[in-house]
């Protein structure tokens, strides 16, 4: 099973990335995919949106899966793997989760068989200049475990600003692939799909 973590700060477009990615993965490769949602808030909006677009979604509410719901996440992954045996499990944590804690939790856990683990970090081009200053530490924590970084909402910034964002991401110590995308229109999402080949 391929375990895919799609993480990023609040409002960066994680759900939109997943929706776009799932369409492509299902249509072109026929993968069986399950999404585990951990929406921040008492009402699970992201899970509802995904269901409306025909996705299989398990929701974890009432806490954060890198903190008090860590056990809930592990149990859910175990149950999903045992009962549905999907090719891919995509996990969307809250925008305040530390992805490293989630990765360690599922890697160290017996009863979960992960063949491959990928971490996609999404950042918001429109708000990057502000958020990297305000949320530098959480952002660095996320980049530390990234396999690929998606700079989303590129329709809102100039090419020059985009270059600046990519440069900043490098100064934060991330030297892997950085893709500029507009997830709601599916722009430049092809590179992301290479993760699944």
């Amino acid at each position: 099973m391929h375990f895919v973590l799609v993480s990023g700060l609040l409002g960066v477009g994680k759900t939109t990335v997943i929706l776009n990615m799932m369409d492509a993965l299902y249509e072109s490769k026929g993968h069986r995919i399950m999404v585990i949602e951990n929406d921040f808030g008492n009402k699970g909006i992201d899970g509802e949106v995904m269901r409306k677009y025909g996705m299989d979604v398990q929701e974890l509410k009432g806490g954060c899966i890198c903190c008090t719901l860590k056990t809930g996440l592990i149990d859910t992954v175990r149950v999903v793997q045992a009962n549905m045996d999907p090719d891919i499990i995509i996990v969307e944590p809250t925008g305040i989760a530390d992805p490293e804690i989630i990765i360690n939790a599922v890697q160290d856990c017996s009863g979960i068989e992960i063949d491959r683990l990928s971490t996609i970090i999404v950042v918001d081009a429109e708000r990057f200049a502000k958020t990297w200053k305000m949320f530098e530490r959480p952002l660095k924590n996320q980049l530390k475990v990234a396999d690929i970084v998606l700079v989303n909402k590129i329709d809102t910034v100039s090419d020059e600003d985009l270059d600046g964002i990519k440069e900043r991401i490098k100064t934060f110590g991330f030297n892997g692939p950085v893709e500029a995308v507009q997830a709601d229109k599916g722009v430049n999402m092809g590179k992301l799909l290479e993760l699944f080949e």
Partner: protein
């Protein structure tokens, strides 16, 4: 989750129900729901939000469905989906912002709803945070975290 308390946002969720009488054209209805979401974002700034985490909503009306998202202090709203003629509708809103007290956020939300969607029914949901100083999960509801052993509240 980050260990930094200042990175923990204030969340508020609400369910809204209403009826447009006479029924409203889909594009007009989408604009109205979008106006409400924008007002909530701008209202959050007015009551002290120093950063918008995410203000988002889903609206269901008949067979139609839209999702909306606002993440910037100018209240710009991104909308996905379409509505046809709208009579009865439901809307679920999640406001997650950094800075304001939840009470101020709730007062603001109720005022904006009454102003833009007068007469609609509103249910507001609060997070039930726990009292454990070592727990940084604002949505923690584990009984051993929420209540002390000698707690004499109704639920215990």
């Amino acid at each position: 989750m980050t260990e930094d308390q200042e990175f923990i946002p204030t969340p508020l969720a609400a369910d809204l129900k209403g009826v447009f009488s006479p029924p409203m054209e889909g594009t007009d209805a989408v604009q109205k729901f979008s106006d409400l979401l924008k007002a909530l974002t701008l209202g959050a700034v007015d009551v002290g939000a120093w950063s918008i985490g995410h203000v988002k909503a889903v609206v269901e009306a008949g067979q139609g469905f839209i999702s909306m998202s606002s993440t910037t202090e100018d209240g710009n709203v991104r909308t996905k989906g379409e509505l046809s003629s709208v009579e009865e509708w439901t809307m679920t809103v999640n406001v997650i912002v950094f800075g304001p007290d939840v009470e101020d956020l709730e007062t603001m939300l109720l005022e904006k709803v009454e102003s833009i969607m007068p007469g609609s029914k509103v249910n507001v949901y609060h997070a039930e945070g726990c009292d454990d100083p070592e727990c940084f999960d604002p949505f923690c509801r584990r009984p051993e975290h929420v209540h002390e052993d000698d707690c004499d509240c109704d639920r215990c």
